[in-house]
């Protein structure tokens, strides 16, 4: 299968993989849906227990396999597991961006923001903005 991007005139919207967290940010994303707030449907979440547990390799893998961007919906200070979740996740983002650069992928394709369990509006805003900024980048390098 091929990616459908590149057709002249109509570019398909950037695909975003969201790493969310079961107790916090996924709940916030749920709230956006329950409130019928709209964001681009080309964003799909994979929930994990905590954003501090994301492997940079997964980020690279996603960008090499059909996604145009990865968004980490971090627990932030709401994290039920670790108080310094923000710092830990930020380190993962640093490592991840380095890994992307090594693989000739723009580090801007990885973004992180804390999304709390009621952060429905912020999440929607992040999705819209991230999609917009991804549109300005060239198509994903590593795509098949």
């Amino acid at each position: 299968m091929e990616k459908g991007s590149g057709t002249a005139g109509e570019q398909s919207p950037p695909r975003v993989l969201v790493f969310s967290t079961v107790f916090i940010s996924d709940v916030g994303i749920d709230l956006a849906g329950s409130s019928h707030m709209h964001y681009p449907p080309s964003s799909i979440a994979i929930p994990l227990p905590c954003s501090s547990g994301i492997k940079p390799e997964w980020i690279l893998y996603a960008l090499q396999h059909g996604f145009d961007g990865v968004f980490i919906a971090a627990d932030g200070t709401d994290c039920p597991f670790v108080p310094d979740c923000t710092d830990r996740t930020a380190k993962i983002v640093d490592d991840g961006q380095k890994l992307l650069e090594e693989n000739n992928i723009e580090p801007e394709r990885l973004k992180m923001a804390a999304v709390c369990s009621v952060c429905a509006e912020p999440f929607v805003k992040h999705m819209k903005n991230f999609q917009e900024s991804l549109k300005k980048l060239r198509p994903t390098q590593g795509a098949d």
Binding site: K3, D30, P41, A45, C116, V118
Partner: protein, 571 residues
């Protein structure tokens, strides 16, 4: 061909999903996925009939994996794990795909794309299930003790209820006395007993019991361990005490909204909040005297600090208790002085249930109710020592009315109490309103995402004392059902070590917030080992391992990659 035999069920959820996602199309798109043996759509996956159908399918087709694409996993993960269990399928070989909150409801504007997204999501779910293995829960013995935070009516009642069941209770209270708000109340509805008497009664009851300990001027400092077996450090005055408890009940109560200077002339003598007014009437006999002058006319302004649709100055929510409380106070005021003229300027009267009787009684006794619109709130001016309250009455289509009053009572909101220090320790999620948040308002109303930590009373939402006690008893029964069983089973979705690749560098152990990773010897080398009772499955150890030797069950490298692969398709 995979040897897996997976059942996939796609829920209509009435129309919540199927109105925006073409569920049949989703089914068609995934039925030939590798390993899929059964692919069905269902009107309500959570219905008894649908559950039974899944069980039958599991038996008939010898299914070893289950995918339900329906609502948020927060709501029904346990439901369908239960289905799997009843059918003899390991519950951890089940995956819930959230095509409602994160698909149909979020993309009501783009049906076609929502359907495509749902297809990817279900495919990812199938990919994940394909790589599941049967898992077993970890068993932990529980200790028959609870920690109650807050010695208001909810906390005290919870402590006694635990004690009744043979569970010891430690109650810690931040202030220097017990009883909270209720201890300051006069006559309460419907029994007309004094709030202070109720608290005295509870306190006498507690004194009789050996298994309740109350610490005033006490705060929680740290918490470790897990559900059923928490180690808690508390500070009582200047002393630190360690407690070992199986559950924690949070009953920290509410704060009363403080109007800002000038809000309905607040700050002027004679403009009182509802709690101030209650104090005034509770201490009045025969006549209500304010600052030496007899009070003849009282005007109440409702929803002060509540239902502020802008959310700028007040809260957006309805504080729920205040209509009842204000009307009840006005009836007590009427008892003190039947000559009193009382005017209630309200937005909507919400005297639900039996409290409607209070409203009727107030009407019968001559109280005047004037409805105002949020867009044109009443104005309060003081002249010659009296207040002139001006309001537009909605029910006469905007007649402007002027009421002379001696007192203006602001019916103030309930708001969440400042609990930062405590919540830095407990880490409970907080709702948009600032109150503590339950897992599910209907299905799991007193539990929090932190296993073993329960919420009660007005720490959770505005409510009256009767409702608060009801919630505290609900929390008690949840706590007791946990502790009286003698053990809890912990989620097996925790870390595991690849013994072949681990070379013990110690980084994982440093990263673990629960001290759940230790060094052990394995044959000739040293490797990391997971303490299954301590590990919470957060995954903090996973990215720090230079050898890729750690993984969280249910979130393995293979599973994440497979999910990404499953979604790598043409848009």
């Amino acid at each position: 061909m995979s040897e897996r035999r997976i059942g996939v069920y796609i829920c209509h959820c009435g129309g919540n999903i199927s109105d925006f996602v073409e569920v049949e199309k989703v089914r068609d798109a995934i039925e030939n996925e590798e390993g899929v043996t059964v692919a069905k759509t269902t009107m309500f996956a959570c219905s008894d009939a649908a559950q039974q159908e899944m069980i039958n399918d599991i038996h008939e087709h010898k299914l070893d994996g289950l995918v339900v694409a329906s609502c948020s996993p927060t709501l029904h993960t346990f439901t369908f794990r239960g289905v799997a269990e009843r059918a003899g399928l390991n519950p951890y070989q089940y995956v819930q795909v959230n095509v409602r909150e994160q698909c149909s409801w979020a993309h009501t504007d783009l049906k076609e794309q929502a359907t495509e997204k749902a297809i990817y999501m279900v495919k990812a779910g199938i990919a994940k299930v394909r790589l599941t293995h049967p898992l077993k829960k970890t068993r932990i013995d529980t200790v028959p003790r609870t920690l109650v935070i807050g010695a208001g009516i909810s906390g005290l009642r919870a402590a006694i209820a635990h004690s009744d069941l043979g569970i010891s209770a430690f109650v810690i209270e931040k202030s220097d006395r017990i009883g909270g708000w209720v201890s300051e109340f006069g006559k309460m509805y419907p029994h007309n007993r004094l709030g202070s008497d109720l608290i005295t009664e509870l306190s006498e009851e507690i004194k009789k019991r050996e298994n309740i300990h109350i610490y005033t001027e006490a705060e929680i400092l740290t918490k470790s361990g897990s559900v059923g077996d928490f180690d808690v450090k508390i500070k009582v005055k200047n002393e630190e005490i360690s407690l070992n408890v199986g559950s924690i009940i949070v009953a920290t109560g509410f704060a009363s909204y403080q109007p800002y200077e000038g809000e309905y002339a607040y700050g002027t003598d004679g403009v009182l909040t509802l709690p101030d007014f209650k104090e005034l009437i509770d201490n009045s006999k025969g006549e209500i005297i304010y600052q030496g002058k007899p009070v003849k006319n009282v005007t109440y302004i409702y929803c002060v600090g509540s239902r502020d649709s802008s959310g700028e100055k007040g809260h957006t929510y309805c504080s729920r208790y205040c209509c009842n409380a204000a009307i009840h106070a006005s009836l007590i005021a009427n008892d003190v002085s039947s000559e009193l003229n009382q005017f209630h300027i309200y937005r909507d009267i919400r005297t639900y249930g039996k409290y409607e009787l209070l409203y009727r009684e107030a009407l019968q006794k001559g109280a005047v109710f004037i409805k105002f619109d949020e867009a044109s709130p009443p104005r309060v001016e003081k002249s010659n020592g009296r207040f002139n309250v001006q309001v537009k009455d909605v029910l006469t289509f905007g007649e402007e009315i002027e009421i002379e009053s001696d007192l203006v009572v602001l019916v103030t909101a309930m708001e969440p109490r400042e609990n930062k220090a405590m919540n830095d320790v407990l880490k409970l999620p907080v709702s948009l309103d600032g109150f503590f948040k339950e897992i599910h308002p209907k299905l799991r109303p007193v539990e929090t995402v932190i296993d073993g930590v329960l919420i009660a009373g007005t720490s959770q939402a505005p409510r009256n004392s009767a409702e608060s006690v009801a919630m505290s008893l609900a929390a008690t029964s949840k706590s007791a059902s946990l502790l009286m069983k003698g053990y809890v089973e912990l989620e097996p979705l925790i870390a595991m070590v690849n013994e072949d690749t681990c070379v013990w560098c110690g980084k994982c152990s440093e990263a673990c917030p629960y001290s759940a990773i230790e060094k052990i010897s394995s044959g000739e080398k040293e490797i990391a080992a997971i303490n299954t009772a301590q590990c919470k499955g957060c995954g903090c150890c996973v990215p720090v391992c230079p050898e890729n030797a750690l993984t969280i069950k249910g979130y393995t490298d293979e599973q994440i990659r497979a999910m990404i692969d499953a979604m790598e398709v043409l848009l």
